[in-house]
Structures are given as structure tokens and as C-alpha cells.
Symmetry: C2
Subunit: 156 residues, 2 copies
């Protein structure tokens, strides 16, 4: 099917963007992946307006990406911290792909601000494409998109 | 350095989001990765308002992600089509990460709308994490973030 004739109603890129589809949401996820899990800490570090942060956290809770855990500091009322669910952890390649591209392209002076290493061996980790036959995909041009089982005709 | 004390002014995730940081822009890239390169074709397929599409294409041109090629249909005025630059092609892992997550999580009825295969061998392609020592990273928990050479203290 010509891509222009294929319905995008069930497109998986679009579906993901419904959960994490704008800048603040992805920056909130960046914080949580970096171990910053409390509302005030996230708010201060990103400089995000509080009502927007509250809205984005709720969207991520609704989308099953974050879960909320209660904690209580001595003498304080109960508060919540936000942790990645298993589903949320699987967004790691999205975050690391964004980071790697930014490391290379609108290249920052002084090198990357953050490096990600393999736990145990300590070598830097990169995002790669591999095929189910075990080949690593050398170039972006070495992949071909085609209709999946869910492909549907666009209707007017 | 505690992540909360690290400046995010040179964060590579944020830098990438300055170029591709909202839903429409990523959907425009999805079209171009699928070979849809002309303004009217993109506009019709996504249903994006024309002024927004024009703005997003300019942002992608300015960011070095797309380049513009002139073409002329018989009897028509010259028009442009939009192609990925080498820099733009390197966003492929971002798009494929978004697609894979969407394939799995807010799971679509009937399976994925789109499948990506290794050119030549034909096996389905997936996004993976590999370390420079050649290990494939088995779990999202097997990576550790640390300060990179560009890490800077947050200033108030």
C-alpha cells in the first residue's frame, strides 16, 4: 500500500506521542530516568511551571508510564514520588536516541553532559538497530518499511 | 555530581527537542522517513494545518534535518520536495524507538500498522542498546548514567 493511502489512525508513532508527545513530558521523563522522582525536585531542575508539571505527571500516570509511591519525611505530610513502571522503563531507547542525536548534531561545547555506561563492564552504551537474524544494521538506508498486519486503507 | 545540581543548559535531550520537540514535527518526520516528501502530500496525510506544516518544515530545514529539492511537474510552476539530510537520517532510531514502544504498549488492535525490515536479509529490525565492549544490554536497568565531559554545575 502506498504510505499516502494508509490510515494513520493506528500509527504507533502517533500513539506514543499521545502519551509523551511534547517537550515538557520528555524532559520530565529525563528527570525520572536520572533518579529525580519528587515533584519539587523535578520542578526546580527543569524550571517547569507547577500546573504544567502536575498535568504532565497525571498524563504519564494515566498512560501507565509512571506510578506513584507515597513517602513521608519526619514531621511532614505524606507526599508522593514518581517512578517508572516496566512500561515506562521501555521508553529508555527513546530518551537515549534523543540524547545521542543531540550529542552529535547541535553539538554542545565541551562534549556530552551525560554519559551512559553498561552496568558491570563500564563501557559506553549506544542505541543500535539489529535485525532478528542477528545482523547489526550498518546504515539508516539499510532498512525498508512495509505494511504491517494492522495496515488499513485511509478513509476520507 | 547529583543530577539535580547539574546544569541542563547543555543537555542533549533538550537540544534535540529544540529541533523536533513536539508532536507535529515528529509526525512530519515520520512522513519523510516513509518517502512522502511533498508539502501537499504530507499535509493531506497528516491533516496538519498548512501554516503549521510550513513552520515545522522551516524549523527542520534550519536545524539541518531536511533539505529542499526543486522539482517541476509538466505545465506547473517549480515546487519543492523535502528530503532527509545525513543528519536527519540519524533520527531514524528516535522514530523507530517511538514506533516500537507504540507497537507494544498502547497496543493497537490488529497488530502493528508498519513493519521495518533489514534490506537484503528481510528480517524485522529492532532498536537495541549495545555497549562499546560489544555486549548487548539485556535490561533497561543494566545502564548507569554519569557526568560526561560537558557536565556543568547548575547556577541559580
Amino acid at each position: 500500500m502506498d504510505w499516502r493511502e494508509q490510515s494513520t489512525a493506528n500509527c504507533s508513532v502517533a500513539r506514543t506521542l499521545e502519551v509523551i508527545g511534547e517537550k515538557w513530558t520528555i524532559l520530565v521523563l529525563r528527570e525520572v530516568f536520572n533518579g529525580v522522582r519528587r515533584f519539587d525536585d523535578i520542578q526546580r531542575h527543569i524550571g517547569i511551571p507547577r500546573p504544567i508539571l502536575s498535568d504532565r505527571l497525571h498524563r504519564l500516570l494515566d498512560g501507565g508510564v509512571l506510578r506513584r509511591i507515597e513517602y513521608r519525611e519526619p514531621g511532614q505530610r505524606a507526599r508522593h514520588e514518581y517512578r517508572l513502571t516496566e512500561t515506562g522503563l521501555e521508553l529508555q531507547t527513546v530518551l537515549l536516541s534523543l540524547m545521542e542525536w543531540g550529542d552529535r548534531h547541535p553539538a554542545g561545547a565541551g562534549g556530552p553532559a551525560r554519559v551512559v555506561r553498561h552496568r558491570g563492564c563500564g563501557a559506553p552504551v549506544h542505541v543500535a538497530l539489529v535485525c532478528e537474524a542477528g545482523h547489526s544494521v550498518a546504515s539508516p538506508r539499510d532498512v525498508v518499511g512495509e505494511d504491517g498486519p494492522g495496515a488499513r486503507q485511509l478513509t476520507a
